[in-house]
């Protein structure tokens, strides 16, 4: 029991995490090697905002927790006017939101990140961590998908790239293998004349997890019969972040009118397979997919129409 100036405090120890060993490798190579050698008993962490909660609740029981923050350029945000944006895996969401390059060229990323939890949690939470956690409700995943993000992964065999379109396997499950560490996400320059929107429905205006989230990004495209393409991503309505391809096809093929947008919204609803949970019923979620897709596409359409 701690003592200060001869006074003994009656103090109940603060509840904490189960036992594990904290490992801080000196390089990415060492980190990948350690994680691969201890497959099934070691887990990398960035902000820890999901890892520590899962461990505290007893869902995860890893022997080793590996801090991979700040290794080899993972703490940088860089923008190149020809190749696009790179966000290092250790960059926290508040830094992402404050980045002038993000604000100017990729405001959708900042908009989506701003809906995540609270300011003090975003001091820890990272964009790449949000993706790798692979929650179907991940607020920033839709933005990363419609902006055509690519993850850069360091594994035991060196660096490789993973497109987000094939990254998610199931709730909390990705194609990452033991030893893999996501080091950054890169985004190409967005399409000319684009507009984008993330609409999140929570139980309160800010701070909650998504009951349904709809991300839409539209841009003029002469190659599309309608003259436009709209990319869509849906959160919290399927086992993985969902791209309603049928809805996208409708918006690319038919002249965009109120009726076309309604038809696409219906297609997005039909593609979603939500569950009932404490935040909302499956039926409610499906209806909200339709309403919010209509709303998001309409808002984007009003900005991009010529």
């Amino acid at each position: 029991m701690p003592e200060t100036a001869g006074q003994t405090f009656i103090h109940t120890p603060t509840p904490g995490l189960p036992e594990f060993d904290y490992i801080k490798p000196a390089s990415l190579t060492a980190a990948s090697q350690f994680l691969a050698e201890h497959a099934g008993e070691a887990r990398p962490f960035m902000g820890g905002t999901d890892v520590f909660v899962r461990m505290r609740d007893g869902f995860w029981t890893e022997k080793y927790i590996v801090n991979v923050k700040g290794l080899d350029g993972m703490n940088d945000v860089t923008f190149d006017p020809t190749t696009g944006l790179t966000i290092g895996a250790s960059v926290n969401m508040n830094r992402l939101i404050a980045s002038l390059e993000v604000k100017e060229h990729y405001p959708l990323l900042a908009e989506a990140a701003h809906t995540v939890a609270s300011y003090q949690l975003r001091t820890r939470a990272t964009l790449v961590g949000n993706i790798c956690n692979a929650s179907p409700a991940g607020d920033t995943i839709g933005a990363c998908m419609v902006l055509d993000g690519t993850l850069h992964i360091h594994g035991v065999d060196g660096m490789r790239k993973e497109p987000l379109s094939t990254f998610f396997v199931g709730p909390g499950q990705t194609v990452l293998k033991p030893g893999d560490i996501a080091t950054a996400i890169t985004f190409p320059i967005p399409p000319a004349g684009y507009a984008a929107k993330y609409i999140k429905l929570g139980r309160n205006a800010i701070g909650d997890l998504a009951i349904v989230g709809v991300t839409a990004l539209g841009f003029p495209d002469r190659g599309a019969p309608s003259g436009y393409r709209v990319r869509l991503a849906l959160a919290s309505v399927a086992p993985i972040p969902l791209v309603p391809t049928q809805a996208e096809a409708i918006l690319a093929e038919k002249p965009i009118t109120e009726a076309t947008i309604n038809e696409a919204a219906q297609a997005a609803m039909d593609a979603s397979t939500p569950i009932d949970d404490v935040r909302g019923s499956a039926r409610y979620r499906k209806l909200m997919v339709k309403n919010l897709t209509r709303r998001a596409v309409t808002q984007v359409w009003e900005q991009i129409r010529e």
């Binding site: 701690p2 904490g16 036992e19 904290y22 820890g48 905002t49 939890a117 300011y119 003090q120 820890r124």
Partner: protein, 156 residues
């Protein structure tokens, strides 16, 4: 379980401590350094009662490992007052009646201080947004928001 020797600065005092791998910054502050102003609420990054300023930014100390804090600068609610003078956010939260049971107050004060450090003239929306991660079950928040607004106006 491995221990780690770390040095960190807490409220201006340099501390050299040995911490087990699974110790959170919150546990280090409360159980080892006896800085019990920082509260343990949910231990899951939801309630904000454990908010401290870590290297200039507010953070849920339950979501940080102590072992990660080697070389860090930490400010807790005990570090807000200087030479017996309360921080303006402490003065105004008392005057406005923004404290009832008081359990959330240390986290609220830290979040408010951090807000005013990065934004000297926040709008009401910005104040609410900065305090989203600090749950209060007593006051209904309005007097807390009044207090932060008043603290900002005094500083400017």
């Amino acid at each position: 379980m491995a221990f780690h020797r770390i040095t960190l600065t807490v409220n201006g005092e340099i501390e050299l401590v040995d911490v087990p791998s699974n110790m959170t910054l919150l546990q280090l502050l409360r159980d080892k350094l006896v800085l019990t102003g920082t509260k343990n609420g949910c231990a899951a990054g939801e309630c904000g009662a454990c908010t401290v300023i870590l290297d200039g930014e507010p953070v849920n100390s339950c979501m940080v490992l102590a072992a990660e804090c080697d070389g860090a600068q930490v400010i807790t609610v005990e570090g807000l007052a200087h030479d017996g003078t309360l921080d303006p956010v402490q003065e105004t939260i008392i005057e406005q009646g923004g404290v009832q049971c008081g359990f959330c107050t240390p986290g609220i004060l830290i979040s408010a201080r951090a807000l005013l450090d990065r934004n000297v003239d926040p709008s009401d929306y910005e104040i609410r947004d900065a305090l989203v991660g600090n749950l209060c079950r007593c006051t209904g928040y309005l007097r807390i928001i009044d207090a932060v607004r008043e603290a900002a106006s005094r500083a400017s």
